[in-house]
Symmetry: C2
Subunit: 232 residues, 2 copies
DNA sequence: GAATTTTTATGACTTAAATCATATTTAAAT
DNA sequence: ATTTAAATATGATTTAAGTCATAAAAATTC
């Protein structure tokens, strides 16, 4: 990770978008840009929290480890997204790790300046609160799914979520380059099981594959498999 | 659930404790107290979000359902605790249900007044943000555990968490009256499996039972079983 | 461009945990 | 007090999903 002075535009990230215009010079004076390569670990679970990050370009995965081999991917942060904010609250170490899935630029804000930003920009604080509420809801839905939903449904859910977040390219394939192992980690299952489920979904005609890309053929049926059904 | 005008003291809950003294009369004028009986469902997953709740007395479980039979208990809210706040953010229905586990009194605040309270009390907003950060961290730790930790460890974790939240009575038993089914739902496993794991923990000498109460004998060993271990 | 590492692909096997079945005890309701 | 319902206790069986083993294909590195 190489520090670079002024790459980001102080306009596009979640913080810049929700802060007062008057505060932007302060942000510009306090930010640090970092160039990351594919695979770079930006911070690790257990590291002391020193600041909060934003993705300017590229893609970052946020994950938790279990023993040395296994991980669970919590979310993907793409352009504009905040990450490292799980370090806020009553703990002094990051509860998650973050790694670049592709080369890009991230913006680092020290915790002190971030906290000052919260104090000064009540709208940003409010928007961040709403963002936390959304993330918490998603997280608890996934908890429920990990506890009760079969792997096939979780894979379906993962694919629907990826398409929702990253969209599709002109040929209709989900616009993300992700390894099967990462897809497994995002689904909360092993590589082998996810591989089998992918095969089943292909056989069911719900998705199709081309090299490493995945296309959803029947979003409705797949969504039903993945669905957040509330019983009466 | 019976509406009662003025039971709560406008002092003890998470909101009252973090709002300006000047705002308390406004709270007093806008709150509604509700008497709940054991088993009363206060709101259900999918209900439109109309407001936020606080526990004045009693105990509330917050849970998500899976098909008609299974549920996953997300958390327990005891005196002072906020609940229903998962209804905040970009959705208009509660993503969880809440039910009284024992008789008590809850305080209801309409969404409009709650949002006004946030606008006026920046410290409350900030504290709520930190609370969300803590809850999100906990939720994601549990996600990881549901994905990778065996049931025995999850039961150990549940017991450690319950003792931490509710403390022990003079005889050393965890100060909560909870059914095995609810303990199973909190651990994200079936009643039968949790029953077996409880037996194992008893045989291991880590816990002991008396009627419906559970005592932790070796908190250290149990914590290791349950632990949030970060590998290097 | 050869060599090594990583990712993908699959079959065979094992196991943890769910399901099913059925007592027994305890608590609630009439 | 008696019936009914709910919670607890356990064994037997099934199954979903993890582990192990190994090979081919891609991607990186030297």
């Amino acid at each position: 990770m190489i520090q670079k002075a002024n790459i980001c535009d102080t306009k596009s990230c979640f913080m810049c978008q929700n802060c007062l215009a008057e505060w932007h010079p302060a942000i510009a004076g306090n930010k640090t840009n970092l160039k990351v390569k594919k695979g770079d670990v930006i911070f690790k679970e257990g590291d002391p929290v020193t600041g909060i990050y934003f993705v300017y370009t590229g893609l970052v995965k946020v994950y938790k480890k279990w023993d040395t081999e296994k991980e669970l991917i919590i979310r993907f942060a793409k352009e504009g997204a905040i990450f490292g904010h799980r370090g806020l609250g009553n703990n002094r170490t990051y509860p998650v790790s973050a790694a670049a899935m592709e080369a890009g630029v991230v913006c680092y804000i020290s915790l002190e300046f971030f906290e000052a930003t919260l104090k000064v920009n009540s709208n940003f604080t409010y928007q961040l609160l709403m963002f936390f509420a959304d993330e918490l809801r998603e997280s608890e839905r996934k908890m429920r799914n990990l506890a009760h939903m079969p792997v096939k449904g979780r894979v379906a859910e993962a694919l629907v979520a990826l398409q929702k977040q990253f969209g599709t390219n002109p040929e209709g394939f989900i616009n993300i380059s992700i390894s099967r192992q990462d897809l497994a980690s995002y689904s909360g299952a092993t590589y082998e099981t996810v591989f089998r489920m992918i095969n089943e979904l292909v056989n069911d005609g719900l998705i199709s594959l081309s090299a490493k890309s995945i296309k959803i053929n029947k979003l409705d049926t797949l969504s039903i498999l993945a669905q957040d059904i509330t019983f009466p």
